[in-house]
């Protein structure tokens, strides 16, 4: 066969392969990753029935839409730590349940990977992950409520980020009522879901470090009403922690933060700082 005919044949084959891959809904890389997970399971010291169960759970998780990398990491780390196959399956099942309900899975996957890496007890990892999944489901309801009142996402991914941020607030026992009040403050200022996420995030950060949740939320609401955007909220959080490092007194840090930012606002002579509210980086893990 002539040289140029070979080239055309190869080009045609490559095109057909690319279309076939797109149509089949999986890439060779993804198929290889599923094989890698299966290879890890096959090489493990599990009993045959455990291997079969875990392999089936891993394949189900990947086919359900969980990121293959996360499934691979969870199975691999779990097996290396000698965790029972049933517990690893439980980790994956949490992710699958969330995926099937249309909830974001990244935070739960991150938490499981973190727990496995840090050597946390397997049962504790499972409980933390399942509790977080419940919080995410509840957070989704809150976000839906805000969206129904007109709060919008400016970009793809903001809704998922908002759900995860609210779920983390619920982990710190910040009430749904407090979150909704924050949402109302942002909505009144015509802020979007990204600004709302930041507001909840800063509230959670303050609450985690000793500020009573109600006071933390009050401070953030006041900041939002003054027109603080995402950069200002981030600075407010940093100021608080800097003050905490110097003073170690929560209340002093909190009021110092408030006064410092008020002075800064007056100095800059801006009312509202409405220039670029809601702009900012992505999700928290």
């Amino acid at each position: 066969m002539k040289f140029f005919k070979w080239k055309r044949l190869l080009a045609a084959l490559a095109l057909v392969t690319a279309i076939f891959e797109a149509i089949s809904g999986t890439t060779f890389a993804e198929a290889k990753r599923i094989e890698d997970v299966q290879a890890v399971i096959t090489r493990s010291a599990l009993a045959p029935d455990e291997r079969a169960g875990l392999a089936a759970a891993a394949e189900l998780a990947i086919n359900a839409g969980l990121p293959k990398e996360d499934v691979s990491i969870i199975v691999d780390r779990g097996l290396k730590r000698g965790i029972e196959a049933k517990i690893i399956e439980r980790f994956l099942a949490t992710g699958v349940a969330m995926q099937e309900r249309g909830l974001p899975t990244a935070l739960v996957m991150d938490r499981i990977e973190q727990g496995l890496s840090k050597g946390a007890a397997p049962s504790r990892i499972a409980v933390v992950a399942e509790k977080l999944a419940e919080h995410l489901a509840k957070a989704s309801g809150v976000i839906t409520g805000l969206e129904q009142k007109g709060m919008k996402a400016a970009r793809a991914g903001e809704r998922e980020e908002a759900i995860e941020t609210v779920a983390q607030a619920f982990e710190k026992s910040i009430s749904a009522k407090t979150i909704k009040e924050l949402g109302e403050a942002v909505r009144t200022q015509k802020g979007n879901l990204l600004l709302f996420s930041r507001a909840v995030d800063v509230t959670t950060a303050l609450a985690e470090n000793g500020v009573p949740a109600k006071h933390a939320a009050q401070q953030v609401r006041a900041a939002i009403k003054k027109g603080y955007g995402e950069p200002e909220l981030a600075r407010m959080e940093k100021e608080f922690f800097d003050a905490m490092k110097k003073d170690h007194q929560v209340e002093n840090a909190r009021s110092q933060t408030e006064h410092q930012l008020d002075r800064e606002q007056e100095r800059e002579g801006r009312e509202g700082m409405r220039g670029e509210r809601g702009r900012g980086p992505g999700r928290m893990r």
Binding site: K7, I19, E69, E237, R285
Partner: protein
């Protein structure tokens, strides 16, 4: 008697290639030698017959057929490449071929777009923001007694073996990480065993396992 040089002389005369002295010699021989004259007349008659005859046209593929049978010269790699890149290859399109190609291209584009997001997944912000730039972030931990320090966090799936840090002369361990704008949690791992919170972080989060993660906000 006819010699070889006689025949050569006759051919030259018939071809019109004879020099003057050759023509003279031809005339002498023609007059002197009967066999020479007979030979000349026979050849002249043959030339007349050929010149007067029909010249049939070669069949259409005669030349191509002959060329095909000739041994082909192997093109060098540079010649082949040049031909492939710069010479037109002349693809012939019919309406149906063009329509099929367009339909296949549209199907491929649509399915590749679906493939990027995956079934049931929401695309990440970065996949829609080609202008999102990567920021280099320095992580530091003062640990002069440590033999190895690494950093793990939400940016690398909490892989404790991934990002080993470098020890500086003053006992501080450092690493520069390229991170997209976002919010990340992380911890340091000292000597492959101790998970250590960054004392200089901007803020912190409980991880639910008894540790405090540092929080790093990477702004645009």
């Amino acid at each position: 008697m006819i010699t070889e040089s006689d025949r050569e002389l006759i051919h030259k005369v018939l071809d019109g290639d004879a020099a003057t002295e050759e023509k003279e010699r031809f005339s002498e021989r023609l007059a002197a030698e009967q066999s020479f004259k007979k030979e000349f007349e026979a050849l002249a008659r043959a030339v007349r017959i050929i010149a007067a005859g029909e010249r049939p046209a070669a069949p259409p593929l005669f030349t191509a057929g002959v060329m095909k049978k000739l041994p082909r010269r192997q093109a060098s790699l540079s010649e082949s490449l040049q031909t492939f890149l710069f010479k037109g290859n002349g693809i012939r399109w019919g309406i149906s071929a063009a329509a099929t190609a367009v339909v296949l291209a549209l199907v491929a584009l649509a399915l590749i777009g679906r493939l990027r997001t995956g079934p049931g997944q929401i695309p990440a912000v970065s996949s829609f923001s080609p202008q999102v730039r990567v920021v280099t972030v320095e992580m530091r931990l003062y640990a002069p007694e440590a033999h190895r320090v690494a950093v793990a966090g939400s940016f690398n799936k909490w892989d404790a073996d991934d990002y080993a840090m470098t020890k500086q002369d003053n006992g501080t361990w450092t690493i520069n990480l390229p991170l997209k704008p976002g919010v990340y949690t992380y911890m340091f791992i000292v000597d492959n065993s101790a998970w250590v919170t960054d004392p200089n972080a901007g803020s912190y989060r409980d991880d639910g396992f008894g540790y405090k993660n540092a929080v790093k906000r990477v702004m645009t």
